[in-house]
Protein backbone atom coordinates (compact mmCIF):
# COMPACT_ATOMS: atom_id res chain seq x y z
CA UNK A 1 0.00 0.00 0.00
CA UNK A 2 1.41 3.37 -0.97
CA UNK A 3 -1.28 5.52 0.64
CA UNK A 4 -2.04 6.34 4.23
CA UNK A 5 -1.25 3.65 6.83
CA UNK A 6 -4.41 2.13 8.25
CA UNK A 7 -3.27 2.94 11.78
CA UNK A 8 -3.35 6.66 10.92
CA UNK A 9 -6.68 6.64 9.11
CA UNK A 10 -9.69 8.48 10.51
CA UNK A 11 -12.88 6.69 9.56
CA UNK A 12 -16.49 7.72 10.07
CA UNK A 13 -18.97 4.83 10.20
CA UNK A 14 -22.55 5.81 9.37
CA UNK A 15 -24.88 2.97 10.28
CA UNK A 16 -28.27 3.01 11.99
CA UNK A 17 -28.32 -0.61 13.07
CA UNK A 18 -26.50 -1.01 16.42
CA UNK A 19 -25.41 -4.59 15.71
CA UNK A 20 -23.88 -3.77 12.34
CA UNK A 21 -22.30 -0.60 13.70
CA UNK A 22 -20.61 -2.61 16.43
CA UNK A 23 -19.49 -5.25 13.93
CA UNK A 24 -17.94 -2.68 11.57
CA UNK A 25 -16.21 -0.78 14.37
CA UNK A 26 -14.84 -4.05 15.77
CA UNK A 27 -13.57 -4.99 12.30
CA UNK A 28 -11.88 -1.60 11.87
CA UNK A 29 -10.15 -2.01 15.23
CA UNK A 30 -8.99 -5.49 14.18
CA UNK A 31 -7.39 -3.80 11.16
CA UNK A 32 -5.48 -1.48 13.48
CA UNK A 33 -7.65 1.57 12.89
CA UNK A 34 -8.06 3.47 16.14
CA UNK A 35 -9.51 6.82 15.05
CA UNK A 36 -13.13 5.91 14.48
CA UNK A 37 -16.28 7.95 14.89
CA UNK A 38 -19.85 6.77 14.38
CA UNK A 39 -23.14 8.33 13.30
CA UNK A 40 -26.58 6.77 13.15
CA UNK A 41 -28.04 8.68 10.20
CA UNK A 42 -27.18 11.09 7.43
CA UNK A 43 -27.92 14.25 9.40
CA UNK A 44 -25.69 13.36 12.35
CA UNK A 45 -23.05 12.15 9.90
CA UNK A 46 -22.93 15.58 8.25
CA UNK A 47 -22.24 17.13 11.66
CA UNK A 48 -19.55 14.53 12.38
CA UNK A 49 -17.89 15.34 9.05
CA UNK A 50 -17.09 18.79 10.43
CA UNK A 51 -16.14 17.85 13.98
CA UNK A 52 -14.27 14.58 13.33
CA UNK A 53 -12.75 15.35 9.91
CA UNK A 54 -12.49 11.78 8.63
CA UNK A 55 -10.28 10.55 5.79
CA UNK A 56 -12.98 8.14 4.68
CA UNK A 57 -16.67 7.50 5.29
CA UNK A 58 -18.24 4.05 5.42
CA UNK A 59 -21.98 4.50 5.10
CA UNK A 60 -25.03 2.31 5.12
CA UNK A 61 -27.60 3.00 2.42
CA UNK A 62 -30.90 2.20 4.16
CA UNK A 63 -31.22 4.64 7.04
CA UNK A 64 -33.89 6.94 8.43
CA UNK A 65 -34.64 9.81 8.36
CA UNK A 66 -31.84 10.59 5.88
CA UNK A 67 -30.54 7.59 3.92
CA UNK A 68 -26.98 7.05 2.74
CA UNK A 69 -27.54 8.27 -0.81
CA UNK A 70 -29.19 11.51 0.35
CA UNK A 71 -26.38 11.95 2.87
CA UNK A 72 -23.72 11.66 0.16
CA UNK A 73 -25.65 14.00 -2.14
CA UNK A 74 -25.78 16.64 0.61
CA UNK A 75 -22.14 16.04 1.42
CA UNK A 76 -21.16 16.67 -2.22
CA UNK A 77 -23.00 20.01 -2.12
CA UNK A 78 -21.36 21.15 1.11
CA UNK A 79 -19.56 24.51 1.05
CA UNK A 80 -16.53 23.05 2.82
CA UNK A 81 -14.38 21.37 0.11
CA UNK A 82 -12.93 18.92 2.63
CA UNK A 83 -16.47 17.67 3.20
CA UNK A 84 -17.72 17.82 -0.40
CA UNK A 85 -14.75 15.84 -1.73
CA UNK A 86 -14.80 13.16 0.96
CA UNK A 87 -14.15 9.57 -0.09
CA UNK A 88 -17.06 7.24 0.52
CA UNK A 89 -17.63 3.48 0.62
CA UNK A 90 -21.24 2.30 0.65
CA UNK A 91 -22.39 -0.69 2.68
CA UNK A 92 -25.60 -2.65 2.17
CA UNK A 93 -27.07 -6.00 3.13
CA UNK A 94 -28.23 -6.37 -0.48
CA UNK A 95 -25.72 -8.37 -2.47
CA UNK A 96 -26.18 -6.45 -5.67
CA UNK A 97 -25.60 -2.86 -6.63
CA UNK A 98 -29.25 -2.44 -7.63
CA UNK A 99 -29.73 -0.53 -4.38
CA UNK A 100 -27.52 2.24 -5.74
CA UNK A 101 -29.42 2.51 -8.99
CA UNK A 102 -27.64 2.64 -12.30
CA UNK A 103 -24.60 4.68 -11.31
CA UNK A 104 -22.25 4.84 -8.37
CA UNK A 105 -22.27 8.41 -7.04
CA UNK A 106 -19.05 10.36 -7.83
CA UNK A 107 -16.27 9.98 -5.29
CA UNK A 108 -17.50 6.57 -4.21
CA UNK A 109 -14.81 3.97 -3.64
CA UNK A 110 -16.87 0.85 -3.82
CA UNK A 111 -19.71 -1.05 -2.39
CA UNK A 112 -19.42 -3.57 0.42
CA UNK A 113 -21.98 -6.24 1.18
CA UNK A 114 -22.78 -6.44 4.90
CA UNK A 115 -21.42 -7.96 6.98
CA UNK A 116 -18.08 -7.31 5.26
CA UNK A 117 -15.36 -9.90 5.67
CA UNK A 118 -12.22 -8.49 7.24
CA UNK A 119 -10.07 -8.91 4.14
CA UNK A 120 -12.69 -7.27 1.92
CA UNK A 121 -12.99 -4.31 4.26
CA UNK A 122 -9.20 -3.94 4.41
CA UNK A 123 -8.82 -4.08 0.61
CA UNK A 124 -11.55 -1.49 0.01
CA UNK A 125 -10.22 0.90 2.63
CA UNK A 126 -6.66 0.62 1.34
CA UNK A 127 -7.91 1.26 -2.19
CA UNK A 128 -9.81 4.35 -1.07
CA UNK A 129 -6.93 5.77 0.95
CA UNK A 130 -4.34 5.25 -1.79
Amino acid sequence: MTGMALSLARILVVEDDPVMREYVVNSLRRLGIQQIDTATDGASALRAMISFRPDLVLTDIHMQPMDGLAFVQQMRQHSNPAVSAMKVIFMSADNSMDTLGQAMPPGTFGYIVKPPRLETLKARIEQALR
Binding site: M20, E22, N26, A93
Partner: protein, 127 residues
Protein backbone atom coordinates in the same frame (compact mmCIF):
# COMPACT_ATOMS: atom_id res chain seq x y z
CA UNK B 1 -16.18 -18.32 6.43
CA UNK B 2 -13.78 -18.31 9.38
CA UNK B 3 -14.44 -20.97 11.96
CA UNK B 4 -11.83 -20.16 14.62
CA UNK B 5 -12.66 -22.01 17.82
CA UNK B 6 -11.54 -21.06 21.29
CA UNK B 7 -11.07 -23.70 24.00
CA UNK B 8 -13.51 -21.95 26.31
CA UNK B 9 -16.38 -22.25 23.85
CA UNK B 10 -16.27 -26.01 23.42
CA UNK B 11 -19.56 -26.58 25.27
CA UNK B 12 -21.31 -23.91 23.25
CA UNK B 13 -20.13 -24.76 19.77
CA UNK B 14 -21.49 -28.25 19.39
CA UNK B 15 -24.15 -28.34 16.72
CA UNK B 16 -26.37 -30.41 19.04
CA UNK B 17 -26.77 -27.64 21.58
CA UNK B 18 -27.61 -24.76 19.26
CA UNK B 19 -29.83 -24.94 16.25
CA UNK B 20 -30.04 -21.27 15.28
CA UNK B 21 -26.91 -19.72 16.79
CA UNK B 22 -23.55 -20.38 15.12
CA UNK B 23 -21.07 -19.46 17.84
CA UNK B 24 -17.98 -20.74 16.03
CA UNK B 25 -18.67 -18.54 13.03
CA UNK B 26 -19.45 -15.55 15.23
CA UNK B 27 -16.25 -15.83 17.22
CA UNK B 28 -14.31 -16.12 13.97
CA UNK B 29 -15.97 -13.06 12.50
CA UNK B 30 -15.56 -10.98 15.66
CA UNK B 31 -11.99 -12.14 16.32
CA UNK B 32 -12.52 -13.20 19.93
CA UNK B 33 -15.10 -14.74 22.22
CA UNK B 34 -15.19 -11.53 24.28
CA UNK B 35 -16.12 -9.45 21.21
CA UNK B 36 -18.66 -12.07 20.17
CA UNK B 37 -20.30 -11.97 23.61
CA UNK B 38 -20.41 -8.18 23.42
CA UNK B 39 -22.16 -8.14 20.05
CA UNK B 40 -24.54 -10.90 21.16
CA UNK B 41 -25.68 -8.61 23.98
CA UNK B 42 -26.42 -5.94 21.39
CA UNK B 43 -28.24 -8.48 19.20
CA UNK B 44 -30.32 -9.67 22.16
CA UNK B 45 -31.41 -6.11 22.98
CA UNK B 46 -32.11 -5.29 19.35
CA UNK B 47 -33.94 -8.52 18.52
CA UNK B 48 -36.06 -8.37 21.70
CA UNK B 49 -37.28 -4.94 20.67
CA UNK B 50 -37.65 -5.63 16.95
CA UNK B 51 -39.43 -9.01 16.85
CA UNK B 52 -42.71 -7.61 18.28
CA UNK B 53 -42.40 -4.68 15.86
CA UNK B 54 -42.26 -7.04 12.86
CA UNK B 55 -45.42 -8.81 14.05
CA UNK B 56 -47.15 -5.51 14.68
CA UNK B 57 -46.12 -4.10 11.30
CA UNK B 58 -47.34 -7.14 9.38
CA UNK B 59 -50.62 -7.27 11.30
CA UNK B 60 -51.28 -3.65 10.45
CA UNK B 61 -50.31 -4.10 6.81
CA UNK B 62 -47.17 -1.97 7.11
CA UNK B 63 -44.85 -3.96 4.85
CA UNK B 64 -42.33 -1.11 4.55
CA UNK B 65 -41.62 -1.18 8.29
CA UNK B 66 -41.46 -4.98 8.28
CA UNK B 67 -39.01 -4.84 5.37
CA UNK B 68 -36.83 -2.28 7.16
CA UNK B 69 -36.60 -4.52 10.24
CA UNK B 70 -36.07 -7.70 8.23
CA UNK B 71 -33.38 -5.92 6.21
CA UNK B 72 -31.48 -5.22 9.44
CA UNK B 73 -31.85 -8.89 10.48
CA UNK B 74 -30.53 -9.95 7.07
CA UNK B 75 -27.50 -7.73 7.57
CA UNK B 76 -26.32 -9.22 10.84
CA UNK B 77 -27.58 -12.82 10.68
CA UNK B 78 -24.42 -13.96 8.82
CA UNK B 79 -22.40 -12.94 11.89
CA UNK B 80 -24.31 -15.06 14.37
CA UNK B 81 -26.81 -17.45 12.81
CA UNK B 82 -26.91 -20.90 11.25
CA UNK B 83 -26.87 -21.21 7.46
CA UNK B 84 -30.50 -22.34 7.49
CA UNK B 85 -31.68 -19.34 9.47
CA UNK B 86 -29.67 -16.94 7.28
CA UNK B 87 -31.36 -18.43 4.20
CA UNK B 88 -34.84 -18.13 5.75
CA UNK B 89 -34.33 -14.50 6.77
CA UNK B 90 -32.91 -13.63 3.35
CA UNK B 91 -35.88 -15.21 1.57
CA UNK B 92 -38.52 -13.45 3.68
CA UNK B 93 -36.70 -10.11 3.45
CA UNK B 94 -36.56 -10.42 -0.33
CA UNK B 95 -40.27 -11.21 -0.46
CA UNK B 96 -41.05 -8.21 1.77
CA UNK B 97 -39.57 -5.87 -0.85
CA UNK B 98 -42.42 -6.54 -3.27
CA UNK B 99 -45.17 -8.71 -1.76
CA UNK B 100 -48.32 -7.68 0.10
CA UNK B 101 -48.57 -7.86 3.90
CA UNK B 102 -50.64 -11.06 3.89
CA UNK B 103 -48.12 -12.87 1.71
CA UNK B 104 -45.18 -11.68 3.83
CA UNK B 105 -47.05 -12.62 7.01
CA UNK B 106 -47.51 -16.18 5.70
CA UNK B 107 -43.83 -16.45 4.83
CA UNK B 108 -42.79 -14.92 8.14
CA UNK B 109 -44.97 -17.29 10.24
CA UNK B 110 -42.49 -20.22 10.24
CA UNK B 111 -39.52 -17.85 10.60
CA UNK B 112 -40.78 -16.05 13.72
CA UNK B 113 -40.36 -19.06 16.07
CA UNK B 114 -36.84 -19.59 14.70
CA UNK B 115 -35.91 -16.01 15.53
CA UNK B 116 -37.41 -16.45 19.01
CA UNK B 117 -35.34 -19.61 19.40
CA UNK B 118 -32.24 -17.69 18.31
CA UNK B 119 -32.93 -15.17 21.05
CA UNK B 120 -33.26 -17.95 23.63
CA UNK B 121 -30.02 -19.54 22.43
CA UNK B 122 -28.22 -16.18 22.62
CA UNK B 123 -29.39 -15.68 26.19
CA UNK B 124 -28.31 -19.26 27.00
CA UNK B 125 -24.87 -18.61 25.51
CA UNK B 126 -24.51 -15.39 27.48
CA UNK B 127 -25.69 -16.92 30.78
Amino acid sequence: METKKSPSMSTHSSSGEFQCLNAARGIGMMGSEASFRKILSTVATSLSADLPKVDQALQSGDVATANRLLHAFKGYMPIIASDDLIAQVTAVELLSKTACAQEVQQAYAPLAPQLQRLLIEINHFLA
